[in-house]
Amino acid sequence: MSLSSRMILVLTTVGLISGGFLAGVAKLTKERIALNIQAEIEEAIKIVVDDAEVSTVLYEEEDLVIYREMEDDGQLAGYAIQATGVGFQDKITLMFGLDETLTKITGLTIIDQKETPGLGAKITEWVAFLQFWEDRDATGLLTLRKPPVRTPPELLATEINSITAATISSRKVLKIVNLSLEKVRGLIAEGKITSEEHDDH
């Protein structure tokens, strides 16, 4: 056999074997991986919308997904909004909840970010940042409180807390939320989503 055909043969065979092999492995792990990803989103939703059990995608576009959340008894629990935007370094993906009337923010959590560890990355864990997102007014523009305060009552309803040394990241999160809220309001105005209960199917 000539060298050339041997080269082709070997590589093709190796490709074949590895393709088959990998397909097998993928088959075994695929489901779990999908579950993992699913679980991550579900967990995020649970954090931002109390009592959410069943979610349906209401609206989807690049960088913005709106879920409607039901309690297990079928009552509307609220809405969860997954949004992506630029942060200090790179993209931030976050999830925040809206109450049934789409007028109040019920909570916020960060799904994915690449901010500076130790600095901007505090947006994922800083209690005085995350927990102070509850009960924010979602009808207008939110603003950042700087320097940060210690307890939620110190904030106005239209204010969110900042993080020392991560002011910029806090501001970016705020910006993402503000932008998505605007879009949501636009969608409501267009009638694409409504705050009242819908009878799907």
């Binding site: 130790g118 600095l119 020392t164 040394a165 002011t167 910029i168």
Partner: protein
């Protein structure tokens, strides 16, 4: 024929009296007005910081000299003392001493000695120390206190540049007054606040020709031009060049840090590019970057380019054709 005692050496047999320690001590003297100014504005805190940095730098330097078996006299050549002073002058007045010490050790060890000591370092040692601290302890490094002369009673306080960036002071018309910037009656790093004291020192260096005038001139020129364009187009949004020159670390950087001979180019053409580059980058960072102040990053960044500048900007030798080939 007896062994002779005459000295055998290469010409020249005359030597100018200036020496490295003399240059270094001139710089230290030129720094003193700013040191005194900072002691006036920040009192004991300033004294303690200077002292901590000086001791830490000298001890680190001594340890390295000892390890590397180099002559101990060079401890007193003044370069480590300058590094200590300049590092201290670029620290927030309220910084705790352990951080100042860490910064000093890094400045001398990582900034200078790993490259072989005086004369060989690529980056400005004091700024390496500061950049390290800035990145390692960002909160402490951006916590400011007001000078005692301001008689304000706030726990936190912001620098004029910080306010410019985060509080939109131009829009609100609350930009710090130039007079305060000039005298140093504002928040900021120890040594950067008082423009007048720095200018006095700068004049000493310029008249003694210790520093290359092109560097401060080029930096200020580029920064003024850059910020000036934006200011002229939209004075309601952008601060005037005079503010940018007097605020923050620009003056200390332009006169005392960018001019560090070891880390600046050796050729005139390279020096111009270096200086203009620093000025431009300071403008970029202040106007569009993530940080309120960019002098440190600009100088460090241009430091990395210096070797290339040196290589590519060899002066035209007398008699060399103007355009090769």
């Amino acid at each position: 024929m007896p062994d002779s005692e005459y000295m055998i050496r290469s010409s020249p047999h005359f030597k100018d009296k200036d020496s490295v320690p003399k240059i270094m001590y001139t710089v230290i003297i030129a720094l003193l007005p700013a040191v005194f100014a900072s002691v006036y504005y920040f009192r004991l805190k300033a004294v303690v910081l200077y002292f901590a940095c000086l001791v830490a730098c000298l001890v680190t330097e001594a340890i390295f000299l000892w390890i590397r078996k180099k002559p101990f006299q060079s401890l007193w050549d003044g370069s480590a003392a300058i590094t200590a002073l300049l590092l201290a002058m670029t620290l927030p007045p309220d910084l705790s001493l352990d951080l100042a010490v860490i910064g000093s050790v890094v400045a001398i060890a990582i900034g200078k000695q790993v490259f072989g000591g005086l004369g060989y370092n690529i980056f400005n040692p004091a700024l390496v120390g500061r950049a390290f601290l800035q990145t390692a302890f960002p909160v402490a490094m951006t916590t400011w206190i007001p000078p005692v002369t301001l008689h304000v009673d706030t726990a936190t306080f912001a620098t004029p540049l910080g306010n410019l960036k985060f509080q939109d002071t131009v829009v609100h018309g609350t930009l710090a007054p130039l007079k305060d910037l000039f005298l140093g009656n504002t928040g900021g790093c120890l040594g950067e606040t008082s423009a007048v004291a720095l200018v006095i020192g700068a004049l000493i260096l310029l008249t003694k020709k210790t520093i290359d005038w092109r560097i401060p001139f080029g930096i200020i020129l580029a920064l003024s031009a850059f910020t000036g364009v934006f200011w002229v187009v939209n004075p309601d949004k952008f601060a005037p060049p005079s503010f940018h020159i007097l605020a923050g670390g620009l003056l200390i950087g332009a006169f005392f840090m960018a001019t560090d001979m070891v880390t600046s180019p050796i050729t005139p053409r390279g020096t111009w590019i270096y200086a203009l580059g620093i000025g431009l980058m300071v403008g970029l960072i202040r106007l569009f970057g993530g940080f309120p102040e960019g002098v440190m990053y600009s100088i460090l960044f241009m430091n990395t380019i210096v070797p290339l500048l040196n290589r590519s900007s060899r002066p035209r030798i007398l008699g060399e054709r103007r355009r090769p080939q």
